[in-house]
Symmetry: C2
Subunit: 374 residues, 2 copies
Amino acid sequence: MSGEDFESLEKVLETCVPEAELREVRRLLFGKQLKKLNLPQSALDAAEEQDFDLKGYVFEASPEQLRPPRTVRVGLIQNKIVLPTDAPVLEQITALHKRVGEMVEVAAICGVNIVCFQEAWTMPFAFCTREREPWTEFAESAEDGLTTRFCIQLAKKYNMVVVSPILERDEIHGGTLWNTAVVVSNNGNVLGKSRKNHIPRVGDFNESTYYMEGNTSHPVFQTQFGKIAVNICYGRHHPLNWLMYSIHGAEIIFNPSATVGLLSEPIWPIEARNAAIANHCFTCAINRVGTVCATSHHDFGHFYGSSYVAAPDGSRSPGLSRTRDGLLVTEMDLNLNRQVADKWNFKMTGRYEMYAEELKKAIQHDFKPNIVKE
Amino acid sequence: MSGEDFESLEKVLETCVPEAELREVRRLLFGKQLKKLNLPQSALDAAEEQDFDLKGYVFEASPEQLRPPRTVRVGLIQNKIVLPTDAPVLEQITALHKRVGEMVEVAAICGVNIVCFQEAWTMPFAFCTREREPWTEFAESAEDGLTTRFCIQLAKKYNMVVVSPILERDEIHGGTLWNTAVVVSNNGNVLGKSRKNHIPRVGDFNESTYYMEGNTSHPVFQTQFGKIAVNICYGRHHPLNWLMYSIHGAEIIFNPSATVGLLSEPIWPIEARNAAIANHCFTCAINRVGTVCATSHHDFGHFYGSSYVAAPDGSRSPGLSRTRDGLLVTEMDLNLNRQVADKWNFKMTGRYEMYAEELKKAIQHDFKPNIVKE
C-alpha cells in the first residue's frame, strides 16, 4: 500500500477512524472544519463523465460592520499529460488545451472567479532529462503565444481570471527561456507575468539547464476578485519569497508546482500551509499527477497531485487525489486575512528593520556569525 | 472526544488505522519512519513511578567518508505546574525544581547530552492575567539566580547542557524584565542567554505588559555536542527569526513555548517543522501541559503539550501527550543537516541579497507596493 495505490490520506482517515475521534483528528490535522461547497449537479456529472475529481469547500470569515464579505471562488486544476511525450509538440499542446479547457468549463459552472493551472501546464515536466529537444519547443511568448491566446479566450468566455504557468520564450532578450506564470484578467487582458524566483538544483532537476532565477521580483496583480500573486514551485521552500509577495499585498498566493513522491511528499502539506499562517493570507498549492514518461530518462516516480488550499487561520482543505486529474473549488471570504492579522499581528511584531540589517550583514563574504564559545 | 480527553493524534492513528495503510499514513504525516530508541529499563521504570511519559526516537544520517557521525541525544521536558498558583512563590519554584530535577535524572540515565525545559518553566504561565503580583516575583537573575544555580548543579552532575527558559530580572538595566533562555554548558558554566525576540499581543496574551522584544539578537551557542540556539515561543511564527539563527550556524533550534488549544493547536505541528525543513536543521518544539489556574482569570483552556522534534529531511518524531508530563529523548546525527542542505540547497538558492534590499525598501513608511492594475 504505497505509491500510486494510495489515493489520499483523507480517504483512509475517513474510512478507518470512528466518527467520535475523527472530528478531533481532523481538527488537529486540518484545523477548523470546513463546510462542503454545494456544487451544481451538472458540474458533478460533467466531472464524472470526463473522469476527473471535483471537490468544493468553503472558508468562512466573521461578519464585519463596515466591510461586506469579499467572497471569491478559486479553482485549482491538476492533471496528467494527455498524449505520449513523443507525440508531435503542437499535438501535445493542443491536447492539453482541450483537456484543461473542458475542466475550466466545469469550473465556470461552479462559479469560479480565478483559476490556476499547474506549473508548465502545456508540456511534460521533462526538465530532469537535460535534453533540449523537443522540450524547449514548448516555450511560448507570455504576451501573445498560442497558450496565452487560448487563456484570453477562456477568460473572456467565462469572466474568469486565468493564471497560466508556462515555459516562456523571451524574444526581446535573445530568446531566453523563463519559467513564468501569465496572469490574464477576467476581461481578457494580459495583466502581467511573474517569473519563478528560485530555481532548483535538486537531484535530477537542475532546472538552470533551461532557465535562470526570475527577474520580475514580487508583483501582485489587482484583479476584480482580489489581489493575487504567483510563487512558482521551488519558491515555496523559501519563506522570504512568500513573505515578500505578502508584503506587496497579496491576498491569495498561488504555488503551481511539479514535484515527485519520494523527494518531497511529506513536506508538501507543510510549506504552503505554513506560508498561509505566517503571512495572514490564502495559499493555493497545485501539483500535477502522473509520470514524466520522458522516454530517455530513468523512472523516478510519479507526481503526487494532492493540491490543496490553506487559510491564514491554519485551516486547510483536504487534498485532491494523489493520482487522478482534479478540480478543487474553494470559496473564500478574503476578509479572513485581516481578521487573522488583527488577531495574531505577525506583521506588526515582525521587526523587519532588524532583519533587513542582519540579512545585509549576513550576505557579506566576511560575515562573522554570532557564535558564543565556552 | 476533545480537549483533555484526547491524548494524542498518534495514539488514535495507531489504534484505528490498519497496518497496511498505517505505514503510508505515517509517511505522509510524519516523513521517514524513525527507529525507536532503546531506553534503559531503569529509566522506563522511574518514569512510570514518577508518572510521566518517556519516549525515544532516532534520527539517522548516511555514513560519510570524511566525517564520523555526530550523534547527540537531546531531551525535551514538558510538565504541569506542581503547586497551586496561590502557594508561596518560593515554594512553587522549589517544587518545580524538584519535579523537573527528577525528570532530568531520568534523562541522564537515557544518555541525554542537551536538555531543554519549557518557556518560563519555574512559574505558572500567568501573563494572561495582566496582574503584576505575585508573578513578577518569579523573575530571577539569568547569571546567578536561584534557578541558574540549580541548573549549574544539574549540568555538572550529569555532564549535560541545560537550556533553562526563565523570567529574567535584569538588575543592571533598572530591573527590567525579559523572557530569557539561559544556556549552561555541560561544564556548569553559564554560556550566555538568548532573549525572546518577538512578543505576542494576541488575545489575552499581551506579554509586553511584562517584557519587551529581546535585544540579544540571534546568538548561537557552541556546545560540546553541537551548535544550538533558542527561539522562544511566539518567535516560531516568524520565519525570519528561525532563518537568522540558522544563518548564524545553529544546528539545533529549541522552541520552548506555552500555548493553548483553541488558539494554536492545528498550527503547532506546522511551524517548527517548516523551520527545520526551510533551514536544514533540527528544531525542538516544547509546550507545557495543564492549565494556568490563575485564580483571577477566566478559563481559556489547557496547554496542550505535544512537544516534538523535527528534522531537516521533513521527518518528525511523534508528539508527547497533550495532557501528561513527559520527557522526549531523541538521538540525532547532526551530519544530516549538511546532507540535506547539499541535496536541497536552500541557502545556496536563497537570493538573500535581493531580500535584504527589498526588505529595506518595504519598511519605509512611504513604501509603494508593486501592485499591477488593469
